[in-house]
C-alpha cells in the first residue's frame, strides 16, 4: 500500500479552542471543527511525515487502538478533509515551502 503524506492547506485559517481545532476555508466560509484526535493528526500534518508514522507514533501512543484500524480511520478522515480542500493528501512528501517564482 503506497504511503500517504498530508499537509495543512495554507489557504485556510485555523485556531485552537478548548483542545479542538477550528478551521475556516475562507473561499467558501465553511467552518470545520476537529476533535482531539483530529486535531492531533492535523497538527502533525507537515507534509514530510507519512500518515502511517503519525498514526503509529502519535495516535497509537495516546489512544488504545489497533494500528491498522487506526490507519484506516485516519485515511478516511484525511480524505474527507482533502475533499473540503483544507488538507493536502499525496503519495509523495508535500513541500510546504512557498515555490520560487
Amino acid at each position: 500500500m503506497p504511503e500517504l503524506y498530508i499537509a495543512r492547506s495554507r489557504k485556510i485559517a485555523a485556531r485552537e479552542l478548548d483542545g479542538e481545532m477550528m478551521i475556516i476555508s475562507p473561499h467558501d466560509s465553511r467552518l470545520f471543527n476537529l476533535n482531539e484526535l483530529g486535531t492531533l493528526i492535523w497538527q502533525a500534518a507537515d507534509g514530510a511525515t507519512s500518515l502511517e508514522s503519525i498514526v503509529n507514533e502519535k495516535v497509537c501512543a495516546q489512544y488504545d487502538v489497533e494500528p491498522s484500524e487506526a490507519l484506516r480511520d485516519a485515511e478516511a478522515f484525511v480524505r474527507e478533509l482533502a475533499e473540503h480542500e483544507i488538507l493536502l493528501v499525496s503519495n509523495q512528501p508535500i513541500s510546504t515551502l512557498p515555490s520560487i517564482k
Binding site: A13, R15, L17, D18, E20, M22, I24, P26, L31, N33
Partner: protein, 289 residues
C-alpha cells in the same frame, strides 16, 4: 479645481479673476459623522443632501472630531445609478469598489479616501457607511453583528439572532431604566479595557436611530424562544459557529472572512457567550441582569 490659463479666460472669468480676494468660492459642505469613535467626513456640494445627512445622522455629528476617512459624494440624477441589482464588490489591494442599483462607491483604505455616486437619498450613504465601518473594524478586532443591544446599569447587553428569533421582541421588553442602542445591528469594538458596544444610527424595525452612547460589554446572548426563561452556557466552539452566522458579511472577500474569524475567536476567548431561552414576557430582563 485648476485655475484656467489667463489667455483662455472669458471676459466674465477675467473680471472674477481680477476681483481676487472679493470672490467667495462656494465651498463644498462637509459633515463629520462619528460612529464607534471612528469619525468619517462626508463632503457634498448639494445642500439638499446635506440636509438629508443632518437629519439622518443628527446625534452622531461631531464637528470637532478628526476624521479617519473622507467620502466625497457626487450627486446623480434621479433613476438607477448602476445596472447592479444586488450588492457587488470588487477588491484590488486596499481599494474596494462597491456597487448596487442605487450607488457606486469606492473606498481606498490605504489613503483613507473614498467617493460615492448616488441620488439624493439617505439609504445609499447608509449602506456605504455600514460597509466602510465593517472594513475599518475587522483589523481592529471589532465587528457589526445582527443583534439587539441595550445598556442597563452601566453595561451593554447584546442579543444575537437571525430574523424572527426575537431581537425586536427583547428590545420592546426592555425595562424603562434600560437604554436601547438598536434592535437590529449592534456595533462592538475591542479597546484596551475590553469590548465596548456603541450605539449607531443604523435603524432596524423599530425605526428609530440608536442613541449615541457607548458602554462596556456586560453580556452577549444567543436568542432562542422557548416555553420558559433560562440561560444556558455555550461552549466556545459552538459560540464561534453561531457568531460567524450573525456577524455582518456584506461581501465574500477571503481576507475579510479570515480577519473576522480571528476576531470572533479572540472574542469568545475573552467573553462568555450564553444562550438566552425566553418567553415574550418582560420578566426575562430580570434574568439578563
Amino acid at each position: 479645481m485648476k485655475a484656467p490659463e489667463r489667455d483662455t479666460l472669458s471676459p466674465r472669468e477675467r473680471a472674477i479673476d481680477a476681483l481676487g480676494a472679493y470672490v467667495v468660492e462656494v465651498k463644498a459642505h462637509e459633515v463629520i459623522i462619528e460612529i464607534g469613535a471612528m469619525p468619517i467626513l462626508v463632503r457634498t456640494d448639494n445642500p439638499e443632501f446635506l440636509g438629508i445627512l443632518a437629519n439622518r445622522y443628527g446625534g452622531f455629528v461631531n464637528r470637532a472630531a478628526e476624521p479617519i476617512f473622507a467620502f466625497d459624494v457626487e450627486m446623480a440624477p434621479p433613476g438607477a445609478v448602476t445596472d447592479e441589482e444586488e450588492l457587488r464588490v470588487g477588491i484590488t489591494g486596499e481599494r474596494w469598489v462597491i456597487e448596487r442599483g442605487d450607488f457606486h462607491a469606492e473606498c481606498d483604505l490605504a489613503s483613507g479616501k473614498g467617493r460615492i455616486r448616488q441620488t439624493a437619498n439617505p439609504y445609499s450613504i447608509d449602506a456605504a457607511l455600514r460597509i466602510l465601518h465593517s472594513l475599518l473594524l475587522a483589523p481592529r478586532g471589532g465587528f457589526l453583528v445582527h443583534a439587539a443591544s441595550a445598556v442597563r446599569h452601566g453595561g451593554a447587553y447584546l442579543f444575537a439572532g437571525v430574523s424572527g428569533t426575537g431581537k425586536t421582541t427583547i428590545s420592546r421588553l426592555a425595562p424603562a431604566d434600560a437604554t436601547l442602542l438598536t434592535d437590529e445591528i449592534s456595533y462592538l469594538r475591542r479597546e484596551d479595557s475590553g469590548y465596548v458596544a456603541y450605539g449607531t444610527p443604523f435603524a432596524g424595525e423599530l425605526g428609530e436611530p440608536g442613541k449615541n452612547v457607548r458602554a462596556p460589554l456586560a453580556g452577549l446572548f444567543l436568542l432562542k424562544q422557548g416555553p420558559e426563561n433560562r440561560i444556558v452556557p455555550v461552549g466556545r466552539v459552538e459560540a464561534v459557529r453561531e457568531l460567524m452566522r450573525h456577524v455582518l458579511f456584506f461581501a465574500h472577500d477571503e481576507r475579510l472572512v479570515e480577519m473576522v474569524f480571528q476576531t470572533v475567536c479572540d472574542f469568545v476567548k475573552s467573553v462568555p457567550v450564553r444562550r438566552l431561552i425566553f418567553t415574550p414576557h418582560q420578566r426575562v430582563w430580570e434574568l439578563v441582569n
